[in-house]
């Protein structure tokens, strides 16, 4: 056997083996399996009824605390369907997928970790039995995805135009951040906010091109998000080709900095001789940004369960005299009480948008900190707040101290050299806050120290979402580190160590050599 044939034979064997492995493990897109309604009912009545209700009517004890509300299975209307646009009902695989993956940002969790595949099919069979919408109709065919257009600059450009002609921007905003121009409701009357396309992780029906194509083609039933399939009866229709282009455009809007990075909880403050003039100064562009999740204030009465804003992004720059923060957050609404458009979009009473920055007044030496919510009796915190104002009162900044939730005293912003400016554009608030690094008022103001880890926390109010007073979103303690300018010791110390070690070893070698002789 020549070397050549043996190589070929090995190649063939490896090929066959690879093929076998691939076919063995290639998991086909879940195929509808027959579910057992009785078994599904048992699972449902243990796990699901708390939200979806004992009869599937979306009236479980948790339902009234959730926006979006849980799905009402008695209606048989599902949001995330991939069936052909001509068919009203979803495919069994759609229900299976949502149960498997859950729906980010809603109460609906993913169930694949505790329910087996068969369990999930059983529960699908059960929830289908709660409505007569499905009747005897067989599982509908999937929407045709064979004409997929690969993403390319041209396709994205065409998609951008389709985004305009189909008027996606009326709800999703010019830059896709969901900054809507009119109030939107689910058919049930519940409030609904359009998706922010810069945050792929917030998509609820999957983030592959096929998923989004199905969404654009089918719309999202039960919500104002219309179907754009050409044969649908909606106002803005798009051809199959344009729907693929708009999908590519939507996916091109993803913004990596609008994602919280695991374990990164330090704001990296850099030194600059001159600080930015305002929040739109280009000098901010090179400052590193750190993102933090917001959670609603569900810790003390009055609690608040249905937030809209999900994260803040923060940058910091400083010099000898001053420190400047840049706080950015995507907010679908510019909440200015008195503004007619803002008034019509708002749910509940319209109040101004606000952002607050909290830092301890006394830095402890150990790990001890003030309580993250407004400090506590023994540990005061300082708060800088910016308020977007109304049509009659301008936007403004204030400073105060807290020693517990309702224990507040105003402090003198002028003494701290405090100023705050903010502006709203295309679905994003940018607010810059500036103050002195150190002040004369050591027991009233935080003293910012270079090179020290300073605890820092944030709170945010979306005034169009009924957020005011104790109803707001917040972060827990994170860190701010003002990086010391790279001193000479960074080079000198290693150099010194190098010289000492080399010299020391040579001396020792010399001594040992003499001894040996």
């Amino acid at each position: 056997m020549s070397l050549f044939t043996s190589i070929r034979k090995t190649g063939l064997a490896v090929g066959v083996l690879l093929f076998a492995i691939v076919t063995l493990f290639a998991v086909p897109v879940a195929h509808a399996a027959a579910g057992d309604v009785k078994k599904g009912e048992a699972i449902y009545q243990k796990r699901c009824w708390w939200c979806h209700g004992k009869k599937g009517e979306a009236d479980g004890p948790a339902a009234k605390f959730l926006i979006p509300p849980p799905r009402d299975f008695s209606l048989g209307v599902y949001k995330y369907k991939t069936s052909d646009p001509k068919v009203q009902i979803p495919r069994d695989e759609d229900l299976f997928r949502e149960i498997t993956t859950g729906m980010v940002g809603t109460g609906m969790p993913k169930w694949d970790d505790i329910l087996s595949e068969q369990d999930r099919w059983d529960v699908v069979a059960y929830i289908k039995s709660l409505t007569d919408m499905f009747g005897k109709t067989p599982n509908p065919p999937q929407i045709d995805v064979s004409k997929k257009i690969k993403s390319s600059p041209e396709s994205i450009e065409k998609g951008k135009q389709a985004f305009q002609t189909a008027k996606c921007y009326e709800c999703h905003g010019q830059l896709g951040k969901g900054d809507l121009t009119k109030k939107l409701k689910e058919d049930s009357g519940a409030r609904v906010w359009p998706r922010n396309f810069t945050k792929p992780w917030s998509f609820r029906g999957g983030y592959t091109a096929e998923d989004i194509f199905a969404r654009v083609s089918n719309g999202i039933p039960n919500t104002p998000m219309p179907s754009f399939a050409a044969d649908a009866t909606s106002s803005g229709k798009l051809s199959v080709e344009d729907r693929w282009n708009v999908v590519n455009y939507v996916m091109s809007l993803a913004e990596p900095t609008s994602q919280v990075k695991d374990g990164q909880n330090v704001i990296k403050g850099l030194r600059r001789d001159a600080l930015p003039k305002d929040e739109n100064d280009a000098a901010w562009n090179e400052a590193p940004s750190t993102a933090f999740y917001l959670a609603p204030q569900i810790i003390q009465n009055d609690r608040f369960f249905t937030p809209t804003n999900d994260l803040v992004k923060v940058k910091a720059l400083y010099n000898e005299q001053d420190i400047a923060f840049m706080i950015e957050w995507d907010d679908r609404t510019k909440s200015i009480p008195g503004d007619p458009t803002a008034e019509t979009i708002a749910w509940d009473t319209l109040t101004p948008d606000q952002i607050a920055v909290q830092t301890p007044i006394v830095m402890s030496t150990g790990s001890e900190k003030p309580y993250f919510g407004h400090g506590d009796a023994g540990h005061a915190v300082s708060m800088m707040v910016w308020n977007s104002g109304t049509t009659t009162t301008p936007a403004s900044g204030t400073m105060m101290d807290y020693t517990g939730t309702h224990k507040r005293t105003q402090t003198d912003p002028a003494a701290a050299g405090f100023s705050a400016t903010g502006s709203y554009k295309d679905g994003t608030w940018k607010v810059m806050m500036k103050r002195k690094m150190v002040t004369a008022n050591k027991d009233k103001d935080t003293q910012f120290e270079v090179g020290r880890f300073i605890p820092i926390a944030f709170a945010n109010w979306d005034g169009s979402n009924g957020e005011a007073g104790s109803k707001h979103t917040l972060t827990v303690w994170n860190w701010l580190l003002l990086q010391p300018p790279t001193g000479k010791e960074v080079y000198l110390v290693p150099l010194l160590v190098l010289i000492l070690l080399a010299g020391g070893q040579l001396v020792v070698a010399n001594m040992l050599g003499k001894k040996r002789k």
């Binding site: 708390w50 609603p296 010791e489 290693p494």
Partner: protein, 260 residues
């Protein structure tokens, strides 16, 4: 070759901490890769290296076996080239370690937290004092139907107050959980309510994060102070539910054990 042993030993220990620990963690919580923080790693390595040195130089023989090749390297005229290499390598290594220490970083400080600090012997909530040693869940009724009723009432309380953080699956991954640090407790994990008595849990739920002693970092815990928002009965029923739904048993009280 004697002097290679401790080096290999330290290397294995390093790999165990660097890869082994996160691997075990990932088995326990699939989908995660919990690395050991750099500062903790440095601390462990210091101990391990010191330990390895002590172990190897414990007796005269071991000491000699370790030290002779080194002395030889630094004094043997025939090994001049190798010696130069060793001197350069050691010096550069020292230089690099020194640089790691002084270079500017943004690594957050490590904060250790005692997850289950010792409870007080009694606690005052709802204007009443509860002796934690002997406290029992008054709703753990012997009657099955009654117990089921109380448990379901507890479920309603759980789904109106707790699941945002502790999750529908009691796994600590409610839809707002990701914003909190420490993360909400995972009740299906063996390390939480399964190893606690109901009275301990009652203390924790009733007095919340701020009720912890300082080793439990009360300033960081988002666990609400439930005695200000729920009644005593509601807390007991919620506790019935979290045990039942997560399928674990409370630890029986220490008092029983002490009597023996």
């Amino acid at each position: 070759m004697q002097f290679l042993k401790p080096i290999i030993g330290v290397l294995i220990a390093y790999l165990l901490i660097k890869i082994g620990v996160p691997f075990l963690g990932s088995l326990h919580h699939p989908g995660t890769w919990p690395v050991v923080p750099t500062a903790v790693m440095k601390m462990y390595l210091t101990f391990i290296i010191a330990g390895a040195f002590v172990a190897c130089t414990f007796d005269e023989e071991g000491y000699n076996a370790l030290i002779t090749p080194v002395v030889d390297l630094y004094s043997n005229p025939a090994k001049a080239k190798l010696r130069l290499c060793a001197v350069t390598a050691v010096s550069l290594l020292g230089c690099w370690i020194a640089y790691q220490y002084v270079k500017p970083t943004f690594d957050a400080p490590v904060e250790l937290r005692s997850v289950h600090p010792a409870p007080p012997s009694s606690v005052t909530m709802w204007n009443k004092s509860y002796p934690l040693q002997t406290l029992k869940n008054p709703f753990r009724a012997p009657d099955k139907a009654q117990l089921a009723k109380f448990t379901e009432e507890g479920g309603v309380i759980y789904y109106q107050n707790c699941f945002y953080c502790h999750g529908d699956k009691q796994d600590g991954k409610g839809h707002f959980a990701q914003a909190f640090n420490p993360m909400p407790a995972n009740f299906v994990d063996v390390g939480t309510i399964a190893m606690l008595t109901e009275s301990f849990v009652f203390w924790r739920v009733g007095s919340g994060g701020p009720g912890l002693p300082s080793e439990g970092t009360p300033w960081a815990s988002a666990m609400p102070v439930w005695n200000t928002m729920l009644s005593e009965e509601e807390v007991w029923k919620a506790i019935l539910f979290i045990y039942d739904q997560s399928g674990v048993q409370p630890r029986v009280t220490d008092v029983v054990a002490e009597k023996k």
